[in-house]
């Protein structure tokens, strides 16, 4: 690519000399020269040719001198580098020029070999700066893209809770990065049945988010066919195993609540067991049922568990990002702290538990970073009759 160099000097012969000395580079299209007789003309040239790479400027010139030009140059948004030409030994002006952002200086009488080296050095420095600026622009575009993806991801998680008088629901997914691999879902299957899902995809970031999108769609679509919890998991597991070269997997719980009877059936795909919270505050961790994370091994069978919810009882689903939250002393939050928190609650509503448990974890973590996505889903059974 041709490098554009602006030469600023009030000496008319200088132009001819430059063109003669650099004729080969000009012919090879390495350099293209522009000329100005003083600082004003130089600024005009810069305006007309916004992509000038470097300026070679004299100091003493009429109308606007080189030192003033350097000052003006600082106000422009371009990366253009300036090299000043000074009288031999004129240290005062050289120091002033350097302090005003000049990249280098050469002295008169000009040694053209030295000038050529100086130009090459200046241009390669400029190239590094340009690459850096380009990289920052790409990075900032990517950050904006990630932020958008994060908003898209949050928007596909359900926000309005099912219009069902018998159940109240609250859920939250807080990703560790802009986008995450955790998700929750709930949906009406028929007049009597509601479906609930909580899930955690292996890894974090973009790959996890893509796998999350696929898993969520497959699970919801399959679940809405109305088959049993264990069948839904074995079907989705087989689908996720196909062409899964990256060995991604998702741990999940799928539960179906019969809102008329309070009977809840659930399947566990390698996920932390949910907890049942009774009206008196006592906590029961639901028994583990047979099953492993989805997407790992084709043909795996899942077992359905069954539990009865009495009026007022809650089910607390969570992902391991809550338990693995780490404080500055490198301690984990762990299930015992979560149980301690849930155990001590007077107000037992889905919203108060979600907000309270999140606060309990973030208080514990303090100023430490969030390593993993944290997701909670809480349902409360409140039959009307």
């Amino acid at each position: 690519m041709v490098s554009k160099i602006l030469v600023v000097d009030d000496e008319p012969d200088f132009e001819a000399l430059i063109l003669q000395k650099f004729r080969r580079k000009i012919r090879k299209n390495d350099f293209e020269f522009f000329f100005a007789r003083n600082g004003f003309e130089a600024l005009e040239q810069l305006k007309a040719n916004g992509d000038i790479d470097m300026i070679l400027t004299d100091i003493n010139m009429p109308q606007m001198d080189g030192l003033t030009l350097l000052e003006e140059l600082l106000k422009l948004p371009c990366l253009t580098k300036a090299v000043v030409v000074s009288a031999y030994g004129d240290m005062d002006n050289i120091r002033t020029a350097m302090n005003r952002g000049a990249f280098d200086f050469i002295t008169k009488p000009i040694d053209f070999r030295d000038l050529e080296l100086t130009i090459d050095k200046t241009l390669s420095e400029l190239l590094i700066l340009q690459k850096g600026r380009k990289a920052r622009e790409v990075l900032s575009a990517m950050q904006q893209e990630m932020e958008l993806a994060g908003r898209l991801q949050q928007s596909i998680l359900p926000h309005s809770y099912p219009e069902c008088r018998e159940v109240s629901v609250c859920a939250q997914m807080v990703p560790a990065k802009d986008i995450g691999g955790d998700f929750y879902d709930f949906f009406v299957i028929d007049d009597d049945h509601l479906g609930f899902i909580i899930a955690d995809v292996s890894g974090k970031g973009v790959t996890a988010a893509i796998f999350m999108g696929v898993s969520r769609t497959l699970l919801r679509f399959t679940a809405l066919q109305g088959t049993s919890v264990d069948k839904v998991f074995s079907h989705v597991n087989n689908l996720l195993c196909v062409d899964n070269d990256l060995c991604m997997f998702v741990t999940a719980i799928y539960a179906i609540l019969n809102v008329k009877t309070g009977e809840l059936k659930y399947a566990n795909g390698g996920h932390d067991s949910p907890m049942k919270i009774a009206v008196d505050g006592s906590i029961e961790i639901l028994p583990r049922t047979k099953g492993i994370a989805l997407g790992v091994m084709e043909g795996v069978e899942f077992e359905a568990g069954r539990v009865m919810l009495a009026p007022g009882e809650l089910l607390y689903f969570f992902t391991d990002g809550m338990l693995d939250a780490e404080n500055e002393a490198h301690e984990f939050y762990e299930v015992r702290r979560l149980i301690d928190f849930l155990d001590g609650q007077d107000q037992l509503t889905p919203t108060s538990l979600v907000k309270g448990a999140y606060k309990s974890v973030t208080d514990f973590v303090g100023n430490g970073p969030q390593f993993d996505d944290m997701t909670q889903l809480v349902i409360q059974y409140q039959p009307t009759e």
Binding site: D200, V201, S202, G203, K204, G205, L246, C247, M248, F249, T251, G269, G270, H271, D272, G291, I292, A293, V296, M297, D320, D324, F371, D372
Partner: protein
């Protein structure tokens, strides 16, 4: 995160030291991949000095296990502490990995 590798009686012994999380998992995957390239087909992964493993780490182990199965090789994990064993247990992976308590036991499983 550090990985140590030695070959004993034709068995690759990998020791994992530190934490495998989303950040360190790609490096672990790459280093074990280099060992797998030698196609000895028998691998022992020692968890004795592993402090933490996230789902990204589990993903790497599943990939290693699948690659070994594809060449009829075998993989045994050993020295999982209580917390790490729990991670395997919850995800159901105790059913798909051969896990032994000590390195000696693991070596004899692989030696047969």
């Amino acid at each position: 995160m550090l990985i140590e590798h030695e070959v004993r009686d034709g068995i690759d012994i990998i020791s994992l030291i530190g934490r495998i999380d989303a950040q360190s998992a790609p490096g672990v995957n790459q280093e074990i991949g280099i060992v797998l390239d030698d196609k000895r087909g028998k691998m022992l992964i020692d968890f004795k000095e592993l402090d933490y493993i996230s789902s990204s780490g589990l993903r790497v182990l599943i990939a290693v296990s699948k690659q070994l199965k594809a060449v009829r090789g075998s993989l045994v994990l050993c020295n999982l502490d209580k917390k790490i064993y729990e991670v395997f247990d919850v995800s159901g992976f105790t059913a798909i990995f051969d896990i032994s308590t000590t390195q000696e036991e693991a070596l004899s499983m692989l030696g047969d």
